[in-house]
Symmetry: D2
Subunit: 419 residues, 4 copies
């Protein structure tokens, strides 16, 4: 099995289509027409062309996606809102000049060249080379059931692969059953352990309720629950419609709450414990411009987890949080930021001098979900190569002063001193 | 005017019906029948009888209220959800054994006596007696327009009164136009400055949009915006339905966002700046069991404010946060906690040895909204008599060790030492 | 080796004298005579009798100790201060009725019985039983050198044992060479890997410099550095002399800085990277009464680590922090808190319903020091069974309301409602 | 009096020599000779010439200073350390190529021009123009005694001036009696209220004890205590000697503790309450490279204040913290950063688009020390124009994307969509 788990530089995900492929992780912004309250509209074709041109933030966002069905629902609610004053056919709606995927902006703004991809690591990255092997001992999750939202792609897929390798029976959920099924089969065929696919729109309590019923019926009560599904808009906040705002709140905060409350109630009834893990972000505490809905909703998720860590410990449940920084992806960066200017700037402020990997997050996640961490609850763990402390510290920009410059000063002062 | 503003021990609110009267601040819990997804149901009469028997947490919650119309809306959405499988008339719904106001529990549990109200202050409170006078100089807000959500009652009313006293033209908003109008007239008659009442359900973007239009039309662009409206359920989290959860998120987080985004866009268009203030809670950062929806939504509000403080400074907007601890109310405590046991426990852990007053919060709020604080943005200010640090510090329970006991130990050790 | 590492319920420390034995971990309070500036005085005999009667906080404090030599030094500095106005012989000093070990107070106050030890776990602890096995794969630290301050006892010893088991060549440092040597031999004999003992008073830069020179000479540059040495006084702050304050600052904050700066400079010269880990406490951020010097110094350590995480990443160094909650010890609790009243109160507020174990901390510590965590820097990880969030959340005391009581209320309201 | 207090754009400090003049605020770095443990050496002449050329960080540092006498003391302690192995005369020491004032580096690096000073405000600063008038009503501190460390210059002087204007009898303390006396007289002559000057080296418990005795004897027990004295080195951390580190810890952390404990004990004895205020920094929580000693010591101060807020509330004492961002100074910036490049960069990331003023900090400080804030304790208040949230939020760099660029993207996507 050691071989299967890969060696340094390799990965247990080797052979898998890489996580965060540009074709599956999606970030959309709902365009707000001329001061109205916002009208999210996406034709399927449009969405695909956007996806094909995904921006540099895909990996950054450790974000799941906003699927077609959600969009349809938004449209319906929008149409419902409009019906008093106006009638628009669906086809009309879809013809509106509607969608902007603002994250693409950066790609477009920065894409003046096409060739050489920026060598993305700083010199010190040599000291911090990622250890891509599985950390926990084999079978650490033997006999356990894990439920992962947004488990079909990206980080969710990576964590699912790790749990499955370590013996867990995994149940992955999102709205796209086809994607889920493909991921489930792919992982299962490598690990030899069952992976179930369960369709679920976490924004809809009924859908959550059904999915949880299916989860329990098919695999039993989960002892690991990872709230990983998310969505994001990168946009000036003044460009956000109320619907855009609500879409993010619904997915991230309400969705996490619905899943957590529903599973929690079932576990209480069954008198079973579990380890919950939520994936948030390093800007949940600090807030951040241009991603205010996501910052707010993720902050809400953190408060929920801390609240329940305190309250539901008595039922045998633990709740922890990982705040990932920017995670490495394949393709997305090179496609949209060919000169590497944007990536370069970001990596320069990360003390470890490189992006993180899905495998690193997965190792931390499996630790937190394992019994090795059975005394860890209510904890918030930042894994970001130091980006947060580097940004937040007022004098850290002095890193741009070279040691030659520091020395030069000392020399000057030394000479001056003779006087 | 100094006289009007009251003196120490008095208040500029003197003569006003006290804030947080039991009859207006409301806290409800949506009862979750036997594993269904939650069915919030409240007859008007029932709500009133609950309200009349409000519990000790009213003041604690620095909470606005969840009004009739909101409830009706919840019912409608609930009915809509049910129509596929069942048909229930509204009257049937209202006959369901439905509502639990869990906050009342404490009152009931603790109400074994009826007589002497607990003298609510600890000895040290003598050192911390509240200064109820207006702090800012007269006319500090002359010529300015202030918009306050949840401004009809409680803290919102107190802050409105203060702003009005200091010269602002105030616009208060909530769903209850009758309450608003009464408050508006009451304040205006005392201060001589206009107070407008604008109906608004902050959960509804259209309602917000209309209210903001009305605000600008009647009073002009606001340069002070206080997001104060809130709601809360005190309940074991496993007792929360999805609807109960969403109700809180909608009011606190989405409502604040809708108001903020809408006004922000208008200010940007008009190239005007403003000071925004949000009222959250001391458990927004730490989370807290039994109030998880409120903790989460308030944490979201804080992240929103910090995000926009960073992003919208360039437009001349500031965003700050007050986290109030438990605020003094009149009547509520004595009615439902006659022995004072619960109140006593709470006050014992507050270093200042007493509850806060509406006037104290209002003085801090007016400071933050004034130009004296024009360089304060992205700040979070806890005003809680020290309750948070007292709770959070691991060894603070040693306050129960008396100085006699500490001395006794030293004596014992001293004697032992003779050897 | 699996056997050597123990199984659930056992420990890789099995066979070792348990960590935190009452006879080695020491907590002292410097008695402040009648308003003078504090005069720390401890005869060796006295210290031992105190130690024999160690209080319930020993384990809590995840604290190393304040050794004889330090005391002597304090005395000298004190005598020096006094020489202008008075002359006291050392023997006079040692006869002063001086020392109070306040942590013992609780033991004394609570020790009314003698027999049955409180069963220290809450019912939910069954869900959170500690996994005492080594988490990382064998040889994870093969060929690496680890330096651990306060490595002779307690947590430091536990982490050293874990690192040694995993292949590291360990160098442990403290002032007591005899204790260190015994620990070194004990661990080395079990793991088959070298453990060096280096005498070092971390408060003294020269001593640190010498110890680091010896470390590098004997074992080479360390790639793991654990700043674990600490000290604490549990005392009303008004009972602290300036010397008592400075003693804690010197050990915890200055000591950590001296070790870190000295080793850091050597690593920079040698162009080698390393993972630094500091052990602080859950009250470093919140502060806490009765342990203010420790809270302050630990907060300082956290800021140092975050500062260097940002600044020294470029040199290949990472800096992380574990904040442990109360850790289980053998003997201490039962001896001084026979009725279990104090322990009971503490455990009741820990969501996991039990104390932590040295092995759990050691597993987290080895993870953070390993290459699995090479993208973790500037992180602060709380491991406390949820105690912090439980204390900090304003409404968590409602856990004392039983579910029967919550139900009772609902029933009452239901009945009332008929009207 | 209104006139005396100045009007918007003016200041109650008008007529006073400006705070933070280059000639009084000092920042030094102790040069570490070739790998030794650090040898702080400063000739008096050298110090003065450095001071005359103070760098752009003076204002930034909201730092008091490290005076001659302290330096002398360091030298003495250093000489004492050396005497075992070597003998160096004082004159030898002073000839060493010793001092570097690293903060000057930036000035030197950036000083290519001499003429036009950078217009330091961003466009939005027009919205945030500082209100320099006194906020509190006249005589708010009538009959009260205030004690301010580092009160002779800078922020400390500004806060003293404000308190004195408002009626307090002030006692200012630092090591430079001549500076203190001049400030005391200057303020007193304007306000008509007594200002006392008390010499005190806060690093020395005996000096603190004497100063407190003098304070109480001359003015009575203080009811306002501002811990404002500080020091800082701006330097790569690998350039710090152990002595440099300890110098900062001693001033900031130990000094604050000695003052606080000493006064606290006296207040307890006299059964009097008081409001304590500490001035820290926005990087106390986040840490920051290049100022690690200051970050650590300030973090320690914050923990001390929070600890005592919880513990000493019962004695009538409150403890709060202001974290100032960069404060405006006169002269310093223009002298050393004539092109304004450094200043420009800093101001661009401050949402309010300008530096803060001493008067603004003083208004907040007087509020927190007044009875208007008698229910504020354990609070940490950031006043930084939003710099912290702006730095910390991961996506805030997108502020560099112009609205034209955002629009351009939307246009492009709109066009693309036609397909």
């Amino acid at each position: 099995m050691a071989a299967a788990l890969g060696t340094r530089g390799g990965s247990w995900l080797k052979g898998f289509p890489r996580c965060f492929p540009g074709t599956t992780a999606r970030v959309r912004r709902v365009y707000n027409r001329a001061g109205t309250l916002g009208t999210p509209m996406l034709s399927k074709r449009r969405r695909e062309s956007i996806t094909a041109g995904m921006g540099p933030f895909v990996g950054l966002l450790h974000t799941s996606h906003i699927h077609n069905s959600g969009c349809r629902q938004e449209l319906q609610s929008w149409r419902k809102q409009q019906t008093d004053s106006s009638v628009l056919s669906r086809s009309q709606l879809l013809k509106e000049p509607a969608v902007g995927m603002v994250s693409g902006l950066l790609g477009i703004l920065l894409s003046h060249g096409t060739k050489v991809m920026y060598q993305s690591d700083m010199p010190q990255a040599a000291f911090f080379s990622p250890l891509q092997k599985m950390m926990l001992p084999p079978n650490a999750f033997k006999g356990k059931v894990a439920f992962i939202t947004g488990g079909g792609t990206g980080l969710g897929k990576g964590m699912t692969a790790a749990l499955s390798h370590l013996g867990a029976e995994c149940v992955i959920a999102s709205r796209k059953l086809d994607v889920l099924k493909q991921t489930a089969e792919e992982i299962s065929s490598k690990t030899g352990n069952k992976v179930h696919a369960v369709q679920c729109d976490i924004r809809d309590p009924t859908s959550v309720s059904n999915a949880v019923a299916q989860l329990i019926k098919e695999a039993g009560h989960p002892s690991i629950i990872i709230n990983n599904a998310a969505g994001n808009f990168i946009s000036p906040s003044e460009g956000l419609s109320a619907n855009a705002w609500r879409t993010i709140t619904d997915i991230i905060l309400n969705g996490t709450a619905f899943v957590t409350l529903e599973i929690g109630k079932e576990l209480i009834k069954a008198q079973k414990g579990a380890a919950f893990l939520a994936i948030t972000t390093i800007y949940a505490e600090s807030g951040s411009g241009f991603v205010s809905p996501s910052a707010s909703a993720k902050a809400g998720v953190e408060a929920l987890c801390k609240s329940l860590a305190a309250e539901w410990g008595k039922y045998g449940m633990r709740f922890n949080i990982i705040q990932p920084g920017p995670i490495k992806t394949k393709g997305a960066f090179s496609r949209l930021d060919p000169t590497g200017a944007f990536l370069k700037g970001m990596i320069e402020r990360i003390p470890c001098g490189r992006l993180g990997t899905v495998e690193e997050i997965a190792n931390l996640a499996t630790y937190l979900c394992s019994d090795y961490a059975s005394w860890v609850t209510g904890a918030v763990i930042r894994m970001d190569g130091g980006e947060y402390v580097s940004m937040a510290g007022e004098f850290n920009d002095l890193r741009k002063v070279t040691s030659e410059q520091w020395k030069m000063l000392e020399e000057m002062i030394r000479k001056t001193k003779g006087s």
